[in-house]
């Protein structure tokens, strides 16, 4: 029997109090795990999507032009530049169908559109099915051209219809919404040159876009982290309270331990071990509950495919390590008080 086993015994002996103290840590750790996990997973997913979608430079109509499409002459000007290559164009416009805005988007790579029902070709979003009543086989007339729906996708929450880019461009009088391209030189310099030399366009580099998105997701992550950390902090404060009460209740016991030869450091160590153990167990259980929460939230939000990304090892270990470390720090003051107890007075304590 040593002091560390004695600390473990103390937690077991005071089951209700230990459980209530741990409950605070468990709630904090579970919230931290679930909120940060879901946000981190979504951040990774968004970044992956962005990386896959973006080229070095994205050229779009400038905000002040009043148009969301670039004409053929502008497109040619961009395509003829020697500092740009590997072009990809996207055309997108909206059409009023029975009083509802239906967005028509050109598709270059059908892998980007996850068809859940039917086949590629003319694919509508679930929202189109729900709001406009279309289904596979339905005929939709856009810009005078009749399209027969071949599939349904879960992409987009709004009514969308995805068709081959060449078809959509043709429908939009050969106009283009955005051109993505690789650059030979520094993307930022090339983007600046494009803006200067081509009238009415705005050019952004991939890094700018990614930075913007990363900044936004980073802020979301920070915000979620702060909220969950407050919950964990409340749990940790209860560790200070519990350990202080424990030290007060065990004044005589601590006096006896000192009298029979335990050093102040050993006494301090046993209190810190006890508080650290509360933090570790609370953190561990909290993480397990948080992971369960992630699975539930991801399924509720229809994001099950991102679940692995929502459970990064750094977060799991970080929450457990953080709970343990913070609990040890919370035990510091009670431990110092315990080690400074006057033995004679402690032995008189009943």
């Amino acid at each position: 029997m040593d002091l560390y086993k004695l600390s473990f015994n103390n937690i077991r002996r005071r089951k209700l109090r230990s459980s209530l103290t741990m409950l605070g840590i468990i709630i904090g750790a579970a919230m931290l795990m679930a909120l940060l996990g879901v946000t981190a997973g979504l951040t990774t997913a968004i970044q992956d999507e962005t990386n896959a979608y973006m080229y070095d430079v994205a050229v779009t109509p400038a905000a002040g032009t009043g148009s969301y499409l670039m004409d053929n002459q502008t497109v040619s000007q961009i395509r003829n530049r020697s500092d740009l290559y590997d072009f990809r164009e996207v055309t997108m416009f909206s059409e009023d169908v029975n009083g509802t805005q239906l967005y028509v988007e050109g598709v270059n790579n059908w892998k980007d559109v996850k068809v859940i029902n039917g086949t590629q070709g003319v694919v509508i979003s679930q929202a189109t099915v729900e709001k406009l009543g279309y289904d596979i086989g339905s005929k939709i007339t856009v810009k005078g051209q009749e399209l027969t729906v071949t599939g349904i996708t879960k992409e987009a929450q709004a009514p969308y219809i995805y068709v081959n880019q060449s078809t959509v461009r043709q429908m939009a009088d050969n106009k283009v919404s955005a051109i993505y391209a690789q650059t030979n030189g520094d993307p930022k310099t090339v983007a600046d040159d494009v803006e200067k030399q081509v009238t009415g366009v705005s050019a952004e580099t991939k890094s700018e876009k990614v930075n913007e998105i990363q900044e936004m997701t980073g802020q979301a992550l920070l915000f979620m982290g702060i909220i969950a950390s407050i919950a964990l902090l409340v749990g940790i404060i209860s560790v200070i309270n519990t350990m202080l009460i424990s030290v007060m209740e065990r004044t005589k016991e601590l006096g006896v331990l000192k009298a029979i030869g335990f050093t102040n450091w050993e006494i301090k160590g046993s209190i810190l071990f006890e508080s650290g153990l509360l933090g570790f167990l609370g953190g561990f259980i909290g993480v397990v509950l948080g992971l369960i929460g992630i699975v539930v939230i991801a399924n509720l939000l229809d994001l099950a495919e991102y679940i692995p990304g929502m459970m990064p090892l750094w977060l799991i270990l970080g929450v457990i390590f953080g709970s343990t470390l913070l609990s040890i720090l919370a035990g510091l003051y009670p431990a110092i008080r315990a080690s400074k107890l006057n033995v004679v007075e402690a032995l008189r304590n009943e």
Partner: protein, 223 residues
């Protein structure tokens, strides 16, 4: 000349009480030889407990010199004092002070430096507690509790045992039994023993009885 286990030279211990000062020990001079068995008696407030606390390095003298086995404790760090308590002193308290959540065996092993289960069992057996190894304090009688406390005090083979009213909570038969154990330890193992007691019957087991009053020794009887 015998080796001295405890030495008090003009030791004072002064406490603040209200606006005034109280001398719990007032210039105490005392030397106890290795292997001695001493009882300390005196009325409440005579300084017996303070004497025992200073002897056990639980409290420091305000003035004067105190040595245990030749070591002056005032020069030792807190850690060294704790080590000295663990290695060379065995404490026995009036109210046993066993840890209620631990069994007899675990209580005995708690201060053990080199954890030796067999040695702990052997000491408990010698105390007549063969069948009480795994009993918790709440399952033991007063006499049994004090015998577990003696076993705990002996576990690191101390050179001195300091007992504060060890029979104060016991009936006459158990009190005599505990004092007999201490007497045997002194006679057979050569362990120095200091017992603070109010009970003349308990004190009679000692070879030397010191009477204290107002923080001073007023009388010493030897057998």
């Amino acid at each position: 000349m015998n080796k001295q286990v405890l030495e008090f030279k003009n030791v004072w211990k002064t406490y603040h009480m209200g606006d005034g000062l109280v001398n719990a020990l007032a210039g105490l001079d005392l030397s106890l030889d290795e292997g001695s068995f001493t009882a300390v008696m005196g009325p409440s407030g005579s300084g017996k407990s303070t004497f025992l606390h200073v002897a056990g390095i639980l409290d420091e003298p305000t003035m004067g010199v105190f040595r245990i086995n030749g070591k002056e404790t005032i020069n030792l760090s807190m850690k060294e004092q704790a080590r000295l308590r663990r290695n060379e002193i065995g404490f026995i308290f009036q109210r046993f002070n066993l840890l209620s959540q631990l069994t007899s065996l675990e209580n005995v092993m708690l201060p053990m430096i080199n954890k030796d289960l067999e040695k702990a069992k052997e000491i408990l057996d010698k105390m007549g507690l063969e069948d009480k190894h795994h009993k918790r304090p709440t399952q033991l009688s007063g006499g049994e509790l004090q015998r577990v406390a003696i076993a705990r005090a002996l576990i690191n083979d101390p050179s001195i045992i300091l007992a504060d009213e060890p029979t104060g909570e016991l009936d006459t038969a158990n009190a005599d039994s505990i004092m007999k154990i201490l007497q045997d330890l002194n006679h057979n193992n050569g362990v120095s023993i200091v017992v603070v007691t109010h009970n003349p019957a308990s004190a009679s087991f000692a070879d030397e009885i010191i009477h204290m009053s107002d923080g001073k020794i007023v009388n010493m009887d030897s057998k």
